[in-house]
Amino acid sequence: MLAGKEGPAVQKAMEIVTALGRIYGATDLVHVESVQVAGVSYKNLGEAGLLFLREWAREGARVRVPTMLNPAGVDLEQWRALGLPEEFAQRQMEVLDAYAQMGIEMTCTCTPYLIGRVPGLGAHLAWSESSAVAFANSVLGARTNREGGPSALAAAICGRTARYGLHLTENRRATHIVRVACPVRTEVDFGVLGYEVGRRVGKGIPYFVADGAAWNAETISAGLHLRMLAAAMAAGGAVALFHVQGMTPESELDEIVRPDAEEIRIDSLAEGYARLSSPLGSIDFVSIGCPHASLEELRDVARYLAGRRVRSVLWITTARETRRRAEAAGWVQAIEHAGGHVVSDTCLVVAPVEALGVKTMATNSAKAAFYAPSHSGLQVRLGTLGECLDAAVQGRWAPRRRPMC
């Protein structure tokens, strides 16, 4: 491959894979089971990225393992109705055409594991979206480094990646013990906890221990709570792997915590909430689904909105496949009937949300709350799904009196 016998596209891919191996001290390459490519939104790629992808596709770049895409900058079917700009949508389609030419599945999601792409324990992957990487490593026990867009694509074209970093067992041991001594209950609490821990451990590998009754392992949902935790940790820091005592697959292994692990204690989430959330009154935009919403969340939203109308712009972002399944159950129609949008293929972080003309946002995602001010110029109020939906219905933040479900 490296000598160019399989063409210039494969040669370039192999050059990338082997150069990274040299840089990070890999002794060999490892076959990957699947690849997830970030660098899909035109908002991030720009003209340069588009040029490059087109050129690589033209040279004959084709993937040899199942390869999926991260969210794009627009909903491929509804972008016009959602008010996203046409010029941007055109460029976005050209990006997707280049990826399609390479044989990549147009999944356009950061949660492939919610649409049936669930790698097995110990599977080697080359995934790139930061929350998907953290979830795959930690909750599923698969093995992937946090790949950049081009390096993930190179791995897909070669079918392998350099064996270094998190592909090696010895590098998966915890560098920090995080003792959580305050109650962590809702999906927002898990996100705020993740954000705070991410800020403190950076690229480290935290090992979570619930001191006292911080959480009840039996009521934690991997698909919701750990998804929010993973996403926020990867945004607040660069965490690609974490362990939760008694919950994640590698947490009970011998010597999973390094002897020199630093200990951190979390006594309160107040500081994290204060960093991510502002005391807003009026709310123009409510965003749910960062990372992409699960089918259960769409069901909960549909049930809540039955017989109600929203005043704020409401987006639930999800994978196209999840949207399809929710449509079959009638939930998309129920949400749309109430004035909300079930948006697929894209998300708040990568869509040109500034074009919607909204200024204030409510969300249940700490990751979205972290990115929205800098990426889209929005002010953010953080609350649970129920609180956010209340705000959508009233057009303003309204303290809840009773639990939602």
Binding site: K12, E15, A19, I23, G46, A48, G49, G148
Partner: protein, 139 residues
């Protein structure tokens, strides 16, 4: 002076060194339309990387930075060659996809802005050019 490093992107090129003591992040740090360093407070701020042998410790910032290098190369504004003390993925991938000869593992403290530098495979040759107010030529 001859220094030996590690090949990141194979190639041979000769040009004038532009040396940054600080890491460079291409996304947001270098204007893709002009090749000028725009990061606030950066020691190279206001200088163009175009056509230079760009010497810096390592890369930083977003992985989209690889595509910024590609865009610079497409417009003829990329560095001729890149020398790092310790390379990381963003700049390495950017150099490979943009066909910019690159080596790392070099003691970059030996190179000054204005030096004539040749990259040939893993070898870096540095020739100090005598200028008004500067010391004599060293080889």
């Amino acid at each position: 002076m001859k220094l030996r490093g590690r090949i990141i992107k194979e190639g041979a090129v000769h040009g004038e060194a532009l040396v940054s003591p600080e890491p460079i992040g291409f996304l947001g740090g270098v204007d893709p339309e002009t090749g000028v360093v725009v990061e606030a407070g950066h020691p190279l701020r206001g200088q163009s990387v175009a056509g230079k042998i760009l010497v810096f410790p390592t890369g930083k910032g977003s992985t989209v930075g690889s595509y910024v290098l590609y865009r610079l190369a497409y417009k003829g504004l990329a560095p001729l060659g890149i020398i790092n003390a310790a390379s990381e993925a963003i700049v390495a991938v950017g150099a490979i996809i943009s066909n910019i000869p690159m080596v790392d593992g070099i003691d970059i403290g030996q190179i000054r802005t204005g030096d004539e530098v040749t990259i040939e495979g893993e070898w870096v040759t540095v020739r100090r050019v005598a200028r008004a107010g500067q010391g004599a030529e060293v080889e």
